[in-house]
Symmetry: C2
Amino acid sequence: MVADDLTYTWADFILRVSRLAGMLEGLGVRRGERFAILARNTVRHYELLHAGYWLGAIPVPVNVRLAPPEIRFILEDSGCKLLAVEPAFLDLLETDALEPWRKNALTIGDPRYEVLLAEASPPPLDDPREDDDAILLYTGGTTGRSKGVRLTHKNVISNGMQCVAAMEIRPDDVYLHVAPMFHSADLLGTGYTLRGAAHAFLPQFSPKALLAEIQRARVTVMMASPTVIIVTLQEPDFDKYDLSSFRRLFYGSAPMAVEWTRRAMERFPRAVLQQGYGLTETSPILTTLDADQHVAAVKNGNYDRLRSVGRPLMGLDLRLVDDDDNEVPRGSVGEIAVRGPNVTGGYLNRPQETAHAIRDGWFHTGDLARMDEDGFVYLVDRKKDMIITGGENVYCTEVEAAVYQHPAVHEAAVIGVPDERFGEALLAVIVPAAGQSLSADELVAHCRGRIGGYKIPRRIALMKEMPKSAMGKILKTELRKMFTAASPAVPVDVAADAPTRQKVDLK
Amino acid sequence: MVADDLTYTWADFILRVSRLAGMLEGLGVRRGERFAILARNTVRHYELLHAGYWLGAIPVPVNVRLAPPEIRFILEDSGCKLLAVEPAFLDLLETDALEPWRKNALTIGDPRYEVLLAEASPPPLDDPREDDDAILLYTGGTTGRSKGVRLTHKNVISNGMQCVAAMEIRPDDVYLHVAPMFHSADLLGTGYTLRGAAHAFLPQFSPKALLAEIQRARVTVMMASPTVIIVTLQEPDFDKYDLSSFRRLFYGSAPMAVEWTRRAMERFPRAVLQQGYGLTETSPILTTLDADQHVAAVKNGNYDRLRSVGRPLMGLDLRLVDDDDNEVPRGSVGEIAVRGPNVTGGYLNRPQETAHAIRDGWFHTGDLARMDEDGFVYLVDRKKDMIITGGENVYCTEVEAAVYQHPAVHEAAVIGVPDERFGEALLAVIVPAAGQSLSADELVAHCRGRIGGYKIPRRIALMKEMPKSAMGKILKTELRKMFTAASPAVPVDVAADAPTRQKVDLK
């Protein structure tokens, strides 16, 4: 662990984690029971996760940006016995929703915590079966009722081993936890633990903080969303930091425009780029577009390849299926279905949703994709995000790719809105580049020739900022709420200075 | 596949293997049934193994050096439906023991084979459960009644993934199959298949053939026994070959004298060295002593470390236990017990031996070892090879390490022989270096001060050649037969030109 305030060896980690396990036990958490963690990315957060593994208790890391009633729902749905809270989030316990949890709360790192830890003695190391739950992660926490994804020891370790191969993890790596540790993306760190590499932690993102931490901890690798990468690449002081240790930039959770991929390759000349696609339900990685494929794509001008999320990891099966679960022909769009040792057995307390997602041993991701002749997977859209307009299927990402090519577009999202004539019509929600604007006519003219006429959005809405998840994903569900439920008559032009209805910081 | 006579892509491999599966099915082999392969290391051998996997039939590769009755025992014990034979071994079918198998034999690569293959159509790819048998490998085939070790798909794939990490396998590797493909050591190739690397094959070992194949196929990595390595290093034409592609020398199955390790590092300056320890029952690798540990040991003069087989692979548990299955204190000798996804569920038709070996979920290897403070494992001896003399436990390998330091010793093995006074006495069986000899008195003088007095062999037997297994392991069971059963009065000095009673070529 090479945290800013706490640097020690794996042997020390074992000592601390084992005593922490004793402390959890002393606070009434038993084997097979759950406890929640509400904390940013810190070494103490990582210790708590492993204290759970040591004890055989199941950690439930909770999204720190949820509203108190949402947090309470998770605590109750999972039946947590304890809530470990970072001091920065103690005010949440003052809310009505979380007031009942004050008596079961543990403040991470405060004097009581340190005394309890010092007094605790290690319980025996738990000896789990491979199908015992290791961790419970909630998905969809920012929109709608969230589901707890049960990930077993086998799930987590298997994906760790798959990542060791795919990311060529070495014992001398230093992995920086940038993605929030309550998010499945953080499970990418498992491979680094398996190989005995070092861990560093970024509690709060800013471009300067990220670059300074790479320099300080001699970070070699991180996983970050395109938004984090793009903002960091634009940092004026970028060149002042010593990034010579950095050798692998893993990005995912959303596509990144080719221009930014190329720029990242230029600005991190010692580092290789790798893209990954996965889900909480798959612990998390399913496919990677590897370093040599990035180099070849740029060298050959084959930018289409950079839009691929790559090929499946070894040790798992991936296929694209139609609504009847038949595999679609190569090149056609189908839903991604997967099976493998890293794939969840289902959701907590949701037998129906589990049965719907896992059919005949295959987990159905809800993501639509195409596969090319070489087996590269191209995400097309969320199954439920596909728009049917005038009887035609339109995949939003394809439209967005065209929209993104307009120089005035900083960010774009295409959604379907109710339309009397076509059933659904396409609305392009756009954050313009600084100081620029864009009209619906200009956008239509731009798209003409790039994509088929029925795919061109005739309606446009300009916004200052997009609603986003903690991982930087644009929340289309929020956009749909804003532009359909609230106003059946969709505004054709929203002033660029219109207030954004939801503002979610990217971690 | 970059075989000498057949070079093609993985896509072609799939096509050939799938049709081969159809051919096996046409010859009456069904899913869940077994078929034997009697062949040297060739691409066709590798195709047949995978045709079994495709069909869901279980290949049984058979040691080509066994006597016909031993082969027949394996064919009957495993209930094979078919025997695929390389033309070079067809004469075995002329023996009385194997005559009944002539009607179920398939000659690999002959005109009938090629016609059948061309006419075959691929059956559906088998969809095994992870606990279905993948391959059946017989152990102990050169001495006594052999046991069929059942290895499941999970076993084989898990060790493949463990090796991908431990051996840092890359898609651009070229793996040369040097260890016999009927031996579990060949399962090391699994990781290379998982990563889509290339395979080359050495049907018949000689130093020149090995070096020529490295040069021809641009081999990057191989697994070889110390004997193969030592003989190759002594090849006078060594420097005439282009070995620039070669980057990893993996050795195992027996300890290698430090001098040879250093020499190997000098003669393969572009390659790293790695040692491994494992068993057929563990698919096969359990521990590795890695490249950086070799470099550090030589740099620091810490040659003791080079006698370690390293540390356990990730994803498995290894501990040293006493006869009551209690873990022994660090530094003490215990039997190696292991569990993990790569560990067999047991032997075919041997419920008693299975129950004896697998107790409380742990497989007992029968190997004795010590573990140092850093977790490095030092093999001490086979459990049954430990000698009790005058009430003291003596581990033969420790004695052998001392004996090997005498310059006149080329190869040495220490065994226990009956002794009226001490119960057992130590006998050093020695193959002297060319043109040299050694007396018991000289050996005693040499050992004095190196090891405790009760560990010094007072008896010595000189031989021209050691009985060895196909992997180059000295067969102590054979030595014991030679020096105890046959002659209770053990010869104190056997003339160096005495006939060896068993001569087994190293492949």
